[in-house]
């Protein structure tokens, strides 16, 4: 039992949204949420909704109630879960099943589901005990950080559709979207680097042992026979290092030379080749000891640097497009009959049915029903849009409330929004952009080294000592092999990446840091990026509200989940709601109505209350308050700016140009101008493709652009910009493809992060200076032919380790000083 509580404690911390159980209010046994609307009693326990109760029933029947012991109230509320029976029908389609499974033979099928709801130890326990729920299931295996579960099952005993239904029935509905079936993107993470690192480490360690007698050559520990054997063993161990561990450097150097450029890997490759062949010559022809141990150590340190530079965030994905958001299937109507078909098979002209909480999969015209579309993932605007019959509805919105009928106008991949991904920006690899600092100096470095080496060779040949000349030539190439130089960049960037990650600013890779340092133009999306839904400003105009009407309004909006109701509700946060006898009636797309003291009270749109007020303010949403037939007043609700955003913008403006892009009309121009000043270029009415073009033009004019956006409609701009940063309120939520993902709460630190990228560059430059000084010392001895294997074996690790220490300490200390990190370590 002790362990159980430990496990549950661990996970309560990572789940702050859970409401703590209170004594007087009954909480759902399954999900721990307050039982607000109804309390269902079953088995002596209380449940907030039938969904939660159903999950308990299933688990109880199968003797799986351990689930409730591991973590307290482990389930998630089942209220919002659709219970429609045929919604998984598309999983009967053979093509779809084939694309989804990982592995299938005559007997068993393996499939990996992504289940975003996995959040605690209980989830793991239940999903790994699936075989107790259905004998057709062999096993389930959870990857907690990736929020994935791999299920193995016998396809004869349970079909995929039944399996998904079962998972959904116990409260863990898998997220299946178009990307799962569109193409199988099996991510082969770079395991090769780890293999190479292991080989290099193995060989290096053993070579060090065999070279040890050489380091004490004076002491004559062993006889001549041993010396030879050890040298040959070193050669044997050097072979895998040279032919396997070092291959990446050869390939990269060759590619670079073929393009008439010199990157950092060229001098490294030259150094490795010289080390290897000179050592072979030294060992076999001269009978000396060679430099094989240095070669092993060099590769080992270089690969460690390479490995450290990679930092991946398991729970984040940086390359989601609309396909990770769109559904796999859609309900099509064929002669009044409903049929669930895969989205890929949807054609123009088809009639589709979209239900509550379902996504509009293609640009379509509304045929029937009340469309009430929430575009928050696309634009960042939370208030749903009302559409009338015959109006075109763009794909990407989510229908709220009742089902609607639509006729498809464009195929899913050709819509107003999705057409964005057909732009050629998405075809080409995003350019790594500016050349990295290391690559720029490596050209000069390589030529200088070659020049010095040749000069030494010529000098000794002229003075009549050709063999010393060859020794000096190779010594220079060996000693200047830029190990320390090559380590400064990966370690500085790797450390910076980690510092940023701790500050909830997650970068896709380390190239982004160098690109961020070169940014001179920052482009913000307005809705959802500059503005935040929880910062809405509510103003009331009209006859002053008495306390009674305030508490009446509070009581009404309490009953509604509409975004505007929520905002009015929080505006009235210090008012107590009156208790209403009559139910509050919510008319979708219009407003709320109730009867209070025999009078009809209405709260909603102008049309709903028949308001005839002129000179209404523009640029926000209006909610009218009416008693019987008289309109008493109205609320003017504007999406407010994020806290601290003015400071962010003004501090970025100090040395960079700032642009705003917005998909809205320009009625907020004056308002924004008064907050941010008139130095900012503001652009309104920007569609998804316009935003992309805007960035493209900026880039054409030589700007280094940073785009900050949040919705799918910014995807093109995020892609086209040098660095695209997606802002998200919840890191695990959907965010469009980008170079970096930032937690919205950290936006205040954006200028500090951007400044720190410059600091990183300076740290790299300083450590270059450090490693150059080692090189100068080395060259001083090398040109005189004084370099010995022992000298190499000592200088090389010292220089590398001191550079690593310097960059790590400097990065972390400076980050701490700038307030980007709480503790230095």
């Amino acid at each position: 039992m002790f362990f159980r509580t430990e496990a549950s404690k661990l996970y309560q911390m990572s789940n702050p949204t859970k409401i703590e159980p209170q004594k007087e209010i009954s909480c759902c046994f399954h999900c721990g949420e307050e039982c607000k609307d109804e309390i269902l009693h079953f088995d002596g326990k209380e449940f907030c909704c039938s969904g939660c109760k159903l999950v308990y029933e299933v688990l109880n029947e199968n003797d799986l109630c351990n689930y409730y012991d591991i973590a307290e109230n482990p389930g998630l509320s089942q209220k919002a879960i659709s219970t429609r029976d045929n919604r998984f029908d598309y999983l009967e389609d053979k093509d779809i099943v084939k694309k989804m499974v990982d592995f299938q033979n005559g007997d068993e099928t393996h499939i990996t589901f992504s289940i975003p709801l996995i959040h605690c130890a209980s989830c793991i326990w239940l999903l790994e005990n699936l075989h107790k729920l259905n004998p057709g299931i062999v096993s389930g295996r959870v990857d907690f950080l990736k929020k994935k579960v791999q299920v193995k099952y016998h396809q004869e005993k349970i079909s995929l559709k039944e399996l998904v239904k079962l998972l959904s029935g116990i409260g863990y509905e898998p997220a299946i979207n178009l990307a799962d079936v569109d193409k199988k993107n099996v991510q082969v993470t770079d395991k090769k680097l780890i293999y190479k690192l292991a080989v290099a480490g193995f060989c290096f360690g053993n070579m060090m042992l065999f070279s040890l007698p050489e380091y004490f050559a004076e002491a004559e520990l062993l006889g001549e026979g041993f010396k030879k054997t050890f040298n040959y063993l070193n050669v044997m161990l050097a072979l895998p290092v040279f032919f396997y561990a070092a291959t990446d450097y050869f390939r990269s150097a060759w590619l670079s030379i073929r393009n008439w450029a010199v990157n950092m890997d060229v001098p490294i490759a030259i150094g490795i080749v010289t080390l290897f062949f000179y050592s072979l010559y030294d060992i076999f022809l001269l009978g000396n000891e060679g430099y094989m141990d240095t070669l092993g150590g060099l590769l080992f340190f270089l690969l460690i640097g390479k490995y450290y530079q990679q930092k991946t965030y398991d729970s984040l994905s940086f390359d989601r497009d609309y396909k990770s958001y769109f559904p796999v299937a859609v309900t099509k109507l064929i002669r009044e009959e409903e049929e669930v078909i895969p989205l890929i098979k949807l054609n123009v002209g088809d009639i589709i049915k979209v239900r509550n909480e379902e996504l509009i999969p293609a640009d379509s015209i509304l045929l029937e029903g009340e469309a009430f579309i929430d575009y928050s993932f696309v634009t960042g605007e939370e208030v749903p849009v009302v559409k009338k019959k015959g109006e075109l509805i763009y794909a990407g919105g989510r229908q709220k409330r009742k089902a609607i009928l639509l006729t498809v106008q464009k195929s899913p991949s050709q819509g107003y929004l999705t057409d964005l991904w057909n732009n050629d920006s998405f075809d080409k690899e995003k350019s790594t952009g500016l050349e990295s600092l290391a690559n720029r100096i490596s050209g000069k470095f390589t030529f200088t080294v070659l020049l010095i080496a040749l000069a030494a060779l010529v000098f000794w040949v002229i003075s009549g000592n050709a063999s010393l000349g060859v020794l000096a030539f190779t010594s220079v190439l060996i000693i200047t092999c830029p190990c320390a130089l090559a380590m400064s960049t990966p370690f500085t960037l790797g450390n910076t990446l980690r510092v940023f990650g701790q500050g909830k600013f997650y970068l896709k890779n380390s190239h982004v840091i160098e690109k961020l340092a070169k940014i001179d133009t920052v482009v913000f999306d307005k809705t959802g990026t500059l503005t935040a839904t929880d910062q809405a400003s509510v103003k009331y105009f009209g006859e002053p509200l008495s306390l009674e009407s305030k508490s009446l309004i509070k009581a009404m909006v309490n009953q509604s989940t509409h975004a505007l109701s929520n905002r009015i509700n929080s505006w009235l946060s210090d008012v107590r709601a009156v208790s209403l006898i009559q139910e509050v009636e919510e008319i979708t797309g219009k407003g709320l109505r109730t009867i209070y003291k025999d009078q009809e009270i209405r709260l909603g749109s102008a049309e709903f209350v028949q308001a005839k007020i002129k000179d209404l303010p523009k640029g926000g949403n209006l909610v009218f308050f009416a008693l019987e037939d008289t309109v008493l007043g109205y609320f003017f609700i504007q999406s407010g700016l994020r806290k601290g955003i003015e400071k962010v913008v003004s501090s970025i403006q100090e040395n960079k140009a700032v642009h705003f892009l917005s998909g809205d009309q320009d009625h907020e121009r004056e308002n924004l101008k008064s907050v941010f000043g008139d130095q900012i270029q503001m652009n309104f009415n920007q569609g998804p493709s316009d935003k992309l073009l805007y960035i493209k033009n900026l880039n054409k004019n030589g700007a280094g652009t940073l785009m900050i956006g949040d919705g799918l409609n910014d995807a093109g701009a995020l892609r086209e910009s040098q660095v695209g940063v997606a802002i998200t309120d919840k890191i695990t939520n959907f965010s469009p493809a980008s170079d970096a993902i930032m937690d919205a709460s950290m936006i205040g630190k954006l200028p500090a992060f951007m400044d720190f990228t410059k600091t990183s560059r300076n740290i790299i430059k300083t450590s270059f200076g450090l490693s150059f000084s080692y090189n100068i010392v080395g060259i001083f001895f090398a040109v005189q032919g004084l370099v010995s294997p022992v000298f190499c074996a000592i200088l090389m690790p010292i220089s590398s380790i001191s550079v690593v220490l310097f960059t790590t300490v400097a990065t972390n200390y400076l980050a701490h000083k700038r307030g980007l990190k709480d503790k230095i370590w």
């Binding site: 159980r4 661990l10 592995f103 096993s139 907690f144 950080l145 041993f226």
Partner: protein
């Protein structure tokens, strides 16, 4: 001192087999997820169940 040859052989074979084992562990996915197993080990075995199935540790 000739015994050192045997020792070298043994040490190389030993170190080599560790390398091999590491490779095999990598391939079987032991390092893919290093968080979940830490939680999994805390689950108690059930007592009342007779046919307790131990989930296999291999991914394939």
């Amino acid at each position: 001192m000739e015994v050192i040859f045997i020792l070298i052989a043994i040490s190389l074979i030993l170190a080599g087999s560790f390398l091999f084992l590491f490779f095999r562990a990598m391939k079987s996915g032991q390092f893919d997820d290093n968080h979940t197993p830490a939680i999994r080990i805390l689950f108690d075995n059930e007592i009342k169940k007779k046919d307790k199935k131990v989930p296999s540790t291999k991914s394939k």
